[in-house]
């Protein structure tokens, strides 16, 4: 399938990535080739199997002891006491990241 630079730009926004023009061009080409290869899965007339992920078994969702906050923040790039410190969440350049 053909994929446009606009689609790549949209995907990059969704994935929180900025792409240089050279990256954009290369990724448009690469993803187009990969999607062409995976087209072999489409329109084969096979029914959709309903036993998806047959090998997955999940444990009970029981809470376990978490890391103590002071320890958890010890590897953070920036922290304030026992809290992760981040730049403002509201305002700023939202137009670029919608």
């Amino acid at each position: 399938m053909r994929i446009s630079e606009q689609t790549i730009a949209h995907l990059a926004r969704l994935a929180h990535l900025d792409l240089e023009p050279e990256e954009m061009e290369r990724l448009t080409r690469d993803l187009g080739a990969i999607l062409e290869y995976v087209e072999r899965l489409a329109d084969t007339g096979e029914t959709i199997a309903d036993d998806l992920l047959p090998m997955t078994w999940l444990r009970e969702d029981n809470p376990m002891l978490p890391l103590a906050p002071g320890i958890a923040v010890s590897v953070a790039p920036e922290r304030h006491n026992e809290l992760f410190k981040v730049p403002p969440v509201l305002g700023g350049d939202r137009s670029k990241s919608a």
Partner: protein, 472 residues
């Protein structure tokens, strides 16, 4: 003879008897890493002080008559996407440069309890995404058999380290062939355990429904000994299985031979020839050869890349510059996140995140993701049906021997096809073992792959025993 040339189980037995000191083994391993690593680039971090301390404890146990465990004094290298307390864990990515986990992965805890000595961390394709160990932010790893060639990937550092006798054993992780393909390229054994058999707790997630940690070693006994230590239920991994291993089979081994794969375009003649010889050797040992037809490998690769990238795009959303790893400052939290991810992720990782985002996006989800999941279910059914008639299946690990560094970096699809025979195991959740099966005319190792039904690792070991000695 160097102690590091001994099989892991022999080495452990000698340490336990007090014939060899663990401290001495560790010094040999550290010296070997120091002499070999500058040319190979297999090891990213060495934890010398902690390794020496662990060795002292093992030697103390021996001197006091306490059994240090089945891997007493055996130095082991760990792929750098396996969390280690006290050593960095980078996943080969700039975004985790300098990150030091606050806990050990379950496999590392188990290795320590068994007397093994984690000695360092090995290079990998960034976030285990690759088949050549050329995608690491910290340099390429070279194949010890030919320095102009790749060691395979993504566990190329572990494979090169074991092949060059830095340690007798190492751990890798396998999402689409990342233990088995480098094992094949470097002439060592590499095991993908049944999905759920080995805990993924502490393994940096790439594609959670496909990822498994697996051992690599120069001898079959080493792979088996490490597997037996790291296998088992772990409540900290939601997908860890409580199922018991399959009972051992009696009578002659029935080996399914996927003959038609050997004449596929892209399969090197030496690979096909070594596989024919492996089949003949199994037959001479009393096995019954049964022709089998495996599901279309091209469809399997397509299925794999849709599912793996979808899961990766979700798993890698956690790298946001907030809690650990790299942060590139920005005016708002959103710009900080974009700047951090753009600077921190390499080319292949961005490619897969975008493909995964596409696969999961509205309008394409049913056409790609749901269809891929359906193919995955059909593929698993097909394999379970095949295993009603055979105990193991024999096929190549890789269609080629090690390719040249730089050969495939500009063509992602060519790189993805390096996994054409290995993705079956991950998609179907089956165990598979790459066994050294001789060399090509240039002296490069060829790997034969054995696959078994779920929890049938013992069948793989039984079949591989018949092939021992054909290797490099």
């Amino acid at each position: 003879m160097s102690l590091l040339a001994l099989p892991a189980s022999t080495l452990a037995a000698r340490v336990k008897k007090g014939e060899v000191r663990a401290a001495h083994v560790v010094e040999e391993s550290l010296a070997r890493i120091e002499s070999e690593n500058p040319r190979l680039g297999a090891v990213l971090h060495v934890g010398a002080d902690a390794a020496r301390e662990t060795a002292r404890r093992v030697d103390d146990d021996v001197s006091r008559g306490i059994d240090p465990g089945p891997l007493a004094g055996v130095p082991i290298l760990l792929k750098d996407n396996i969390s280690t307390l006290g050593m960095p864990t980078t996943a080969g990515s700039r975004i985790l440069d300098g990150y030091r986990p606050l806990f050990d992965a379950t496999v590392v805890e188990k290795l320590r309890k068994a007397g093994a000595i984690p000695i360092g961390k090995t290079n990998l394709d960034e976030f285990a995404m690759g088949s050549s160990t050329e995608n690491s932010a910290f340099g390429v790893t070279r194949n010890p058999w030919d320095m102009t060639r790749v060691p395979g990937g993504s566990s190329g550092g572990s494979a090169a380290a074991v092949a060059s006798a830095m340690t007798p054993v190492a751990l890798g992780s396998d999402t689409g062939g990342s233990v088995r393909q480098p094992a094949s390229f470097c002439g060592v054994y590499g095991l993908l355990p049944t999905y759920g058999r080995v805990s993924r707790f502490g393994l940096i997630a790439f594609a959670s429904s496909l990822d498994q940690i697996g051992p690599m070693a120069r001898d079959l006994g080493g792979v088996r000994a490490v597997f037996e230590v790291i296998a088992g239920h772990d409540p900290r991994d939601a997908t860890s299985s409580i199922q018991a291993p399959a009972p051992a089979r009696t009578g002659p081994l029935r080996v399914g031979v996927a003959q038609e794969l050997l004449s596929r375009p892209g399969v090197e003649t030496a690979v096909a020839a070594r596989l024919e010889e492996a089949a003949q050797k199994l037959e001479r040992s009393g096995a019954k050869l049964v022709p089998v037809t495996l599901p279309d490998p091209d469809k399997a690769v397509a299925t794999y890349y849709l599912i793996a990238t979808a899961e990766a795009s979700s798993n890698l959303a956690r790298y946001d510059g907030v809690r650990y790893g790299l942060r590139v400052p920005g005016e708002t939290v959103e710009s900080m996140m974009r700047l951090t991810r753009s600077a921190g992720f390499g080319r292949e990782v961005k490619r897969r995140i975008l493909l995964g985002t596409f696969v999961l996006s509205s309008g394409y989800y049913d056409a790609y993701y749901v269809r891929a999941q359906s193919h995955r279910a059909l593929l698993r059914r097909a394999f379970l049906k095949i295993f009603e008639g055979v105990d193991v299946v024999l096929l190549p690990t890789s269609p080629t021997t090690a390719f040249a560094i730089g050969d495939r970096t500009e063509d992602p699809l060519a790189m993805y096809l390096a996994d054409v025979f290995t993705v079956y195991g991950n998609l179907a959740g089956l165990p598979a073992l790459s066994v050294p099966a001789g060399r090509d005319a240039a002296g490069l190792p060829v790997g034969a792959q054995l696959m078994a039904p779920p929890f049938g690792e013992d069948r793989l070991f039984a079949a591989a025993e018949q092939l021992e000695g054909t290797g490099v």
